[in-house]
Symmetry: C2
Subunit: 470 residues, 2 copies
């Protein structure tokens, strides 16, 4: 380990002066004073930098919604290329791939009996349609996807399934992993049991009348078909549950007319600050450019785009020379519909993944970062801890060594690329996520500065330090 | 004044004992100890009473949205008659009238250039339609309805007006009176200036992506026609304003297809506790049964229905004998579309308005009552103050003598019926008002108890005390 050698030399010197510093050094990795000072300077500059917000405002206003594969997503790529070139990044380019196009159609639902009234729904991404005549049926409620799985095959013939599982709010978003199961599987489990359609309580924490869309699990190679499936807003799920609490059957009508179309072009946008010594070694900063169609994708994930682009821009604008390694920004396409851009990136760059030193993605909204997780080799943990100490004044605690790195890091992580997670406070994230309400006004002008500070310091250190995270 | 005489006798006695009580009595009106004790007992009982919430839940679930003149409003009347009879009120009846029927159709809008994307709108009640082909035009923004009024006739030919005035949040809802001007007049002022359509920033305080509907001013007898007019949600108004901040024209498309149909039946529902001594003298408690079509009308105005019905029910359930005067509940129909039920009530009961002792309406959501306003003759103000002192332990301060009494009290007030206002904290009311988000979950189970306590005490005192508020 080059880093260990470096750290021992430095700690011997500094220990003469400061016990506290010595204790830090005893943990095995020392960040050179000048490097640490530069990192701190970047953090300071980020606090008075409005670049991230301006990027978020620009993307959400000039492009707005940008569903994978649509003309809007194509405009987002044009926007990104233009924006990244204007900032001054090198090697700005699109890396194209194909994505299946799913288009939302008409969508409406209503209680027919006993209490006729409309329900607010959104079709789930990838759902089959009901046809414009819709389907009608008696509602059968299940407390969870696990409960639906127990329904015998064919037992729900002619019925409409309603899964009414509530998602728990949490800072780390851990409720999502649980709740998303019903979104992924309801269509298929309802089909297996013979139902005509499925409704799920939205995977989200909002009490407002927005249905949260999101991708279903893709049809498997076995070709199993799901029933038409939509999310109900929380108030509508409450209402349906109340209607069910009266005696007698509750009948609903569901009309959704989405279309699944043949693959169309999408792409990832890549930009770089070329490393001054080790240009072939890559520190990857990701975010995703696509969004769901209902909102303007402000917290998901224009915020991430703004944060990482502003962080890299800060390096470009502040450093006298580029860091030793290459900083690569990747704005992934088609994340929402199944990490299609992430897979395309991993496949295209398979030969160079060994030179991806570390990677991370910002894709959890606009909340402050509160924890720094890594997924490093044990020998690199002292380096992770040292970076964590630089970030600590931002209110960021050192987390564990089980980072996911973010959704689009999946294939890199599985290929052995070290990843980190700069975990944001996501307490409110699932109030907005995948809803029409994911709009710019939900992000304060200075809300992103702490994120930019953390990403700028992290990416600089990762690109500058003589360290191997593997 | 019978009351002055009564108060002088009592105060002479009590002043011997307590200076503070004497001071109260010096203000000229004394509430008999037994009557005050009964009022306090009603207030206590209200705190452990869940009747109001149950009524709100029942109406919003079993009927849901109930736009004036629709089949849903008719179901609300059936619901009310059944509910009021079940509670045990006397003389439960429908008083029918006719109301013009306005039906919402399709509604959508989008920015065409320079940044194509959808906008969230709702047609204003009473608006003309664009036809299913919609209208397209360049947006011309105005800061207020006053600014639009200055546009010369014909100067906006082919344009689409956008009034971007922000409504102020306040406890007393005073921002509404200002903001509603653009909702009432935009269609007509835009027509006068030659525009093709009008968009207004929603009259509301929510930052969520809901457009707030609401009634425009009705076409005058002069027959002036307004242009098709819709409200934009606040995030969409922000977005349109941002698009306008770039160089170049912003073109939008608006499609709304409402229909104005011939008059259809509506009605007010009346129920009573018949007074034991003066049955012809009426203390009127109002709320309105109809709602806008977008939500389920929970805060507007199922809450008011729940509060006044529960308050009167508390008298029925708690008092050994009815109060001296008749307590009359009126659940008005067709309030939202222009106080049609209120006018019908005033016309039908014109001959007996002189026997309406006092009247009030609950129509401002589910917030706590913080002020007690009156509109009494000067001579009756001491009685108002005495009632105010009974209500004070509920956290209710004595307000002024300029009460409106509530929207449906307009014609009664104009006819000289004394009114009071039990003013609720409306800080959040206009977040929900006239939106799809006006649903039951926004009302806590115990949120209405303080309101019920105040209304029960007030209506009991008004019906029992020997006082003339005129």
């Amino acid at each position: 380990m080059r880093s260990a050698c470096c750290s021992l030399r430095s700690s011997a010197l500094v220990c003469v002066l400061f016990f506290t510093v010595c204790r830090v050094h005893a943990q095995g990795f020392v960040i050179d004073d000048a490097v640490a000072a530069t990192a701190r300077d970047l953090m300071d500059r980020a606090q008075s930098d409005n670049a991230a917000y301006e990027i978020v405002a620009s993307l959400t206003t000039e492009v707005g919604p940008r569903l994978a594969g649509t003309e809007s997503e194509a405009r987002a790529r044009q926007w990104a290329v233009q924006k990244l070139r204007a900032v001054g990044f090198a090697n700005v380019r699109e890396e194209a791939f194909q994505v299946p196009l799913w288009e939302r159609g008409e969508e409406r639902a209503r209680i027919l009996t006993p209490f006729p009234q409309p329900l607010t729904i959104s079709a789930l991404g990838g759902s089959a349609g009901t046809g414009s005549a819709g389907v009608r049926g008696e509602v059968v409620a299940f407390a969870s996807i696990a409960a639906l799985k127990k329904a015998p095959p064919g037992s729900l013939a002619g019925k409409i399934v309603f899964i009414d599982e509530v998602m728990a709010r949490s800072r780390d978003g851990s409720g999502y992993a649980v709740a998303v199961g019903k979104r992924r599987l309801a269509a298929y489990e309802a089909a297996r049991a013979g139902a005509s359609a499925a409704l799920i309580r939205s995977v989200g924490t909002s009490s407002h009348r927005f249905a949260h869309t999101g991708q279903m699990r893709r049809v498997t190679e076995a070709g199993e078909a799901g029933v038409p499936t939509a999310a109900l807003s929380a108030p509508d799920a409450d209402q349906l549950q109340r209607a069910l609490s009266y005696d007698g059957p509750v009948e609903v009508e569901v009309v959704i007319t989405p279309r699944q179309l043949p693959p169309v072009p999408s792409g990832n946008i890549v930009a770089e600050i070329v490393g001054r010594e080790l240009p072939e070694e890559i520190v990857l900063l990701g975010a995703h450019l696509d969004s769901w169609d209902l909102g303007t994708g402000a917290v998901d994930d224009a915020a991430g785009v703004g944060i990482i682009v502003a962080a890299a821009k800060l390096l470009l604008d502040s450093l006298e020379q580029p860091p030793r390694r290459t900083v690569r920004i990747v704005l992934f396409g088609a994340e929402e519909v199944g990490l299609v851009g992430a897979r395309a990136y991993a496949e295209r760059h398979a030969a160079s993944l060994g030179q991806h030193i570390v990677a991370t993605e910002s894709d959890f909204g606009a909340g402050d970062i509160w924890r720094f997780d890594t997924r490093f080799a044990d020998a690199a943990l002292p380096a992770g801890d040292a970076i964590g100490r630089v970030l600590a004044p931002l209110g960021i605690e050192r987390g564990g060594n089980r980072a996911s790195g973010g959704p689009d890091m999946k294939y890199l992580r599985e290929a052995g690329v070290p990843v980190v997670g700069l975990l944001q406070d996501g307490s409110d994230y699932f109030d907005l996520h995948h809803t029409p309400d994911d709009t710019l006004d939900k992000i304060g002008e200075n809300a992103l500065d702490q994120n930019v500070a953390a990403y700028a310091a992290f990416v600089y250190l990762a690109a500058e330090l003589d360290v191997d995270f593997r």
